[in-house]
């Protein structure tokens, strides 16, 4: 098995793990971590699968760079919102859906 395919398989395992965490975890920091895990899974698949013959392909690498920056932006926003929620309510979990 080539290294690229191995990366992709690891990514294929990480993504569902992260997605499940994003859905199941209640603590916001854990959810943010889960999101990053999920994103890393997708990036691994993107780079790994494309070079499963172990010949580097610059296009997905550039895409992953773009993806990482987007993920950083999203993470920063999530952290900012989490801090703000903590400052306002003292909690680090989302309130149950308001039944209004």
């Amino acid at each position: 098995m080539s290294t690229g395919l191995l990366f992709a398989l690891v990514g294929a395992a990480l993504f569902p793990l992260g997605a499940a965490g994003l859905l199941l975890q209640r603590h916001l920091l854990r959810r943010i971590l889960a999101f990053n895990l999920m994103g890393s899974g997708a990036f691994l698949v993107l780079v790994g699968l494309a070079q499963r013959q172990d010949v580097p392909d610059p296009v997905p690498q550039a895409m992953v760079l773009t993806g990482i920056v987007v993920a950083v932006a999203a993470t920063a926003l999530a952290l900012a919102l989490t801090r703000r929620l903590h400052a306002l309510t003292g909690r680090l979990e989302l309130p149950e859906a308001a039944h209004d």
């Binding site: 992709a8 990514g11 993504f15 992260g18 997605a19 994003l22 859905l23 916001l28 959810r31 999101f35 999920m38 994103g39 899974g41 997708a42 990036f43 698949v45 993107l46 699968l49 494309a50 499963r52 296009v59 997905p60 895409m63 773009t66 993806g67 987007v70 932006a73 999203a74 926003l77 999530a78 919102l81 989490t82 703000r84 929620l85 306002l88 309510t89 989302l94 309130p95 859906a97 308001a98 209004d100």
Partner: protein
């Protein structure tokens, strides 16, 4: 140099991007005039683009001159032009509305204009992109801008709603991105033009998984029942101009992409099984019933309108078994356009009522409703579209949908469509009757800028007048550019 059509195409992306950044440069709370001017120019561009596309001339632009699959291509066919036109036509009045709505020194308005500009840039870029990875970037641009706009109030409710929305939208775009990664792995390209001839019904399993992941992620972003949990708090809790933007435009963006993929590169897969289109249709039917029921029960005005969005989005998916017919396709887009205008009108009208009374319980609106007849009228006209009653664009969409469903003998769709209209009437008239209730005490109503009332009325009027101009829209949609 480039021709006028391409200038309009590129301008629709660059203008709001530049105006958003420039508004940031000008400082907190400033840049309203700039964004409004840029939006007016964008509306002009969109009209120009639609006009040239209607003449049969599909707009194409190869960024960097490379051409797909190495570079990224932009394409505006009839569907894209229609969505671009809708977006600018809704965004310009909303920009005017927002300027009058926010107090100049309020916390909400400080970064509204930069976020507004980038949201519009993201939407416009999404509608014309034909590169699956580039579409991912535009999706994130739209998603993060929308989350930021939900949170601008800074209250605990808004922050919680924004976070919930952020996680939903990230999960959705994450699934989409994984799908794109798999597609690239299988085919070595993410350009629609090169993928379309490659994807076949007997594609590798991985491509089927990719298609499923992309569509599921986008369904979540479109808040299709039962993935709608994040929408009511976000759309109901945000400031009125933001709610209007989100309900009218943002959810439509991911729907647009679903439709594009379904009919475009993924068509061989989606057409591989005759029962597949019934899955979104079934969820759509669930959305109509469940969303309407929640809207009927909602005690608060904006919550009600938000649930109405959940319900109305259902119609967009009810058309999937009918996508093979031109009528079904037209019905979906007509509905998306009609709902966009009407829902923007409804949220802006609700904003006026809430601003005037300082609260938003439906049961307590009677006094205000009677002192703001123009706003109530706007609400009513928007309601006419949502109920699918003539002479509105919503009615044309409903007629077209029924016609297409009868053509295929799909009685379930007929039944759901008709009952959805009746359920909408229940929640719309819940509000409208406030205007006629006998009020014992004279409610004091805060003065509201006239601009707010008139923009709401203008948007509602547009959704009605479009009911007389369906032919042009259908002709526009017939110009199809994603082979």
């Amino acid at each position: 140099m480039i021709d006028a059509q391409q200038a309009a195409l590129v301008g629709l992306i660059l203008l709001p991007l530049a105006s958003g950044a420039a508004a940031f440069l000008l400082g907190p709370g400033r840049g309203a005039g700039l964004c409004i001017a840029s939006q007016a120019a964008a509306l002009f561009f969109a009209l120009q683009l639609a006009d040239s596309v209607l003449a049969g001339d599909i707009a194409r632009h190869r960024i960097g001159g490379w051409g797909a699959p190495l570079g990224i291509d932009l394409t505006a066919d009839g569907l894209a032009a229609a969505m671009l036109l809708l977006t600018q036509a809704v965004a310009l009045p909303l920009a005017l509305y927002a300027r009058a709505y926010f107090r100049p020194d309020s916390a909400e308005v400080r970064y509204f204009w930069p976020l507004f500009g980038l949201l519009l840039a993201g939407l416009n870029a999404l509608f014309v992109s034909t590169d699956l990875f580039n579409l991912y970037v535009t999706l994130e641009l739209v998603g993060l801008a929308a989350v930021g706009l939900v949170g601008i109030g800074g209250g605990a409710l808004q922050i919680a709603a924004a976070l919930r929305y952020l996680f939903a939208t990230l999960l959705g775009s994450g699934a989409y991105l994984l799908g794109v990664a798999l597609i690239y792995g299988a085919y070595g390209s993410v350009a629609v033009a090169s993928l379309t001839p490659l994807v076949a019904a007997e594609a590798p399993t991985l491509v089927g998984l990719a298609a499923g992941l992309m569509l599921l992620g986008l369904l979540l972003k479109t808040a299709l029942f039962p993935c709608h949990y994040w929408l009511p708090p976000a759309h109901g809790g945000a400031a009125a101009p933001v709610s209007a933007l989100l309900s009218a435009l943002v959810v439509k963006a991911s729907f647009y992409l679903i439709l594009r993929l379904w009919l475009g590169p993924l068509a061989p897969l989606t057409a591989s099984h005759p029962l597949l289109p019934w899955l979104p249709a079934l969820l759509g039917a669930g959305a109509i019933l469940w969303g309407s029921w929640q809207a009927i029960r909602a005690p608060r005005l904006k919550t009600m309108i938000a649930y109405s969005t959940v319900a109305q989005l259902g119609y967009l998916f009810l058309i999937f078994p009918l996508l093979g017919t031109p009528g079904g396709r037209a019905a979906g887009i007509l509905h998306a356009v009609a709902h966009g205008l009407a829902k923007a009108a409804m949220f802006t009208a609700a904003g006026v009522l809430i601003k005037a009374t300082g609260q938003d319980r439906i049961a307590a609106l009677a006094g205000a409703a009677q002192q703001l007849p123009l706003t109530l009228f706007a609400f009513g006209l928007a309601g006419v579209t949502l109920m699918g009653l003539p002479p509105s664009a919503g009615f044309l969409a409903k007629w077209q949908l029924l016609d297409a469903a009868l053509g295929q003998g799909y009685w379930g769709i007929v039944l759901i469509t008709l009952s959805g209209g009746l359920l909408a009437a229940v929640y719309v008239f819940r509000v409208l009757r406030q205007a006629f209730l006998l009020t014992s005490s004279k409610t004091t109503v805060a003065p509201v800028p006239r601009t707010l009332e008139w923009t709401a009325f203008g948007l509602a009027g547009a959704s009605l007048l479009l009911g007389l101009r369906g032919v042009e829209l259908v002709e526009l949609l017939a110009v199809w550019g994603w082979e």
